[in-house]
């Protein structure tokens, strides 16, 4: 037996609203499957499960907000007892789940048979809630039938008849209806502000930060990138951000005490190099989902993963592991024109790497001055876990790695 609980999707989360179940009783799930969508003040999160088994009972209805740790579902796990034959496949109907190849990439969720999944953009969802439109009755025109804002607008303008014949779902208790509507945008934005405030205040209260900065010559890196991109098809082109992320991940191998968590008065090394990538949300606020195993991805893989992460952050489709696994944060406020980032560490992480804008500066080398593209890399680190000397070695490693882009 395994209880699936409301996960903590970050230091700043106290409760979450179970907005949709993607499984129903009787469904078999594998470790890593996405089983539910949870709405937090930051965004909708696709929640993965960490144990395989068969869903026995859903304990929390859709639309309910519950504290972190609340049991959401009970699963029958399938650990064969000694001397007992492995449990036969459950008898229930439904498409046989093909054995997934390992390692398991978080797979697209198969539509559960009982509870039809409604695919909709967060904007469409908010609008539907505000207008009292049942998304189940809206025809989606987006990718994979996803419901977009325009579809909701159309649905409001032309009350459909063809779908009115849908059977009612009488088992739905009326009380679900009220809490199911997501908070209005303003309330959600306020919640996001409070969450960021709590995490950042905790950081400033508890973490003795030290700050280091180093300006790095990027002429080799960008020259290489330009030549490389000429030869690459558009789908495989690289952005400077990929080089910066890759170099950061590799530099962490040399100074591992920046990669991990400060917990229970001790440093716990991260189980991998999972770079939290700061993404500012245009509705306000920010998220820093993890690029898993950034040190083991090639530049092309890193770029693909980054594009996917940004796209899903925009669409409100991040996964729970991405919100909880980051072992360090890398932020690239340079996109917005600032030269230097003075980071605030996201607890319980122990460091934050910041990159400013890539700008041309006068650069002296070998007695000569020339104009070169440069970036200012900064490190904000937790003095409990590391000292400035080690932090300086990290920035030096970053510089060295960026001078040999072909080796990245």
């Amino acid at each position: 037996m395994y209880e699936f609980r409301m996960p903590s999707l970050g230091a700043d989360m106290e409760a979450g609203t179970l907005s949709r179940w993607l499984v129903a009783p009787g469904d078999r799930v594998e470790r890593g499957d996405i089983v539910a969508v949870v709405e937090t003040v930051k965004s909708d999160i696709e929640v993965e499960i960490f144990h395989g088994g068969v869903v026995e009972e859903l304990l929390v209805r859709e639309g309910r907000e519950v504290p972190v740790g609340t049991p959401l579902a009970r699963l029958r796990t399938e650990v064969a007892e000694p001397g007992e034959a492995a449990e036969p496949a459950p008898p229930e109907a439904g498409p046989p789940a093909p054995a997934p190849p390992l390692p398991r990439v978080p797979a697209p969720v198969r539509a559960p048979p009982a509870t039809a999944r409604v695919h909709a953009s967060p904007v469409a969802r908010k609008m539907a809630a505000a207008l009292g439109v049942d998304l189940a009755t809206v025809e989606g025109s987006g990718a994979g039938g996803a419901i977009l804002k325009a579809d909701v607008e159309r649905a409001v303008q032309s009350p459909r008849k063809e779908k009115a014949a849908r059977p009612e779902r009488p088992e739905r208790p009326a009380e679900v209806a009220a809490p199911a509507s997501p908070p209005p945008a303003a309330e959600r934005a306020a919640g996001m502000r409070r969450a960021i405030a709590a995490a950042m205040a905790r950081s400033k209260r508890e973490i003795p930060h030290y700050y280091l900065a180093n300006t790095i010559d990027l002429s080799h890196a960008l020259g290489w990138l330009e030549r490389e991109n000429l030869a690459r098809p558009v789908t495989e082109r690289l952005l400077p951000a990929a080089l910066l992320l890759r170099a950061s991940a590799l530099a962490l191998h040399e100074v591992p005490e920046l990669n991990g968590f400060w917990q229970d008065d001790a440093f716990r090394p991260g189980p991998g190099v999972h770079l939290g990538v700061g993404i500012s949300l245009r509705g306000g606020g920010l998220v820093a989902p993890a690029l898993h195993d950034a040190d083991r991805k090639s530049l092309a893989e890193l770029m693909t993963a980054l594009r996917d992460l940004v796209q899903r952050a925009r669409a409100g489709r991040l996964r729970s592991s991405e919100l909880t696994d980051a072992t360090i944060t890398v932020t690239n406020l340079g996109e917005r024109g600032v030269e230097t980032v003075f980071g605030i560490i996201y607890p319980p992480q122990v460091a934050l790497v910041g990159f400013g804008t890539i700008v041309e500066r006068p650069w002296a080398e070998g007695g000569m001055v020339g104009a070169r593209p440069t970036v200012t890399a900064t490190l904000a680190a937790d003095h409990r876990a590391s000292d400035g000397h080690r932090g300086a070695l990290f920035l030096a490693a970053l510089d060295r790695l960026l001078q040999e882009p072909e080796a990245l």
């Binding site: 977009l148 330009e226 789908t235 594009r307 409100g316």
Partner: protein, 81 residues
């Protein structure tokens, strides 16, 4: 594919990159990056989305021509013929 269809494709791809935006309020002659607050990853996703839907190769040197909706449509119409 008609010019209108290309315009629709541009809007559809934008809608995926900026799902929170109201595309009806965008000035088609003005830069998208500022209007939609796109970052470099968003913009690359925009270019790749256009490439995947229209099968048009877009060299990096031409990215600047895709800065606005009007610019992108004009570029893609010319590139297709």
């Amino acid at each position: 594919m008609s010019d209108d269809a290309i315009n629709d494709t541009v809007l559809e791809v934008l809608g995926r990159i900026a799902p929170e935006a109201d595309l009806g309020t965008i000035d088609p002659g003005e830069p998208l990056r500022e209007q939609l607050d796109l970052d470099s990853v968003d913009f690359l996703n925009f270019v790749i989305g256009l490439h995947e839907r229209l099968g048009i190769d877009i060299p990096e040197a031409d990215y600047g021509k895709l800065a606005s909706i009007d610019g992108a449509v004009a570029y893609l119409v010319a590139a297709r013929s």
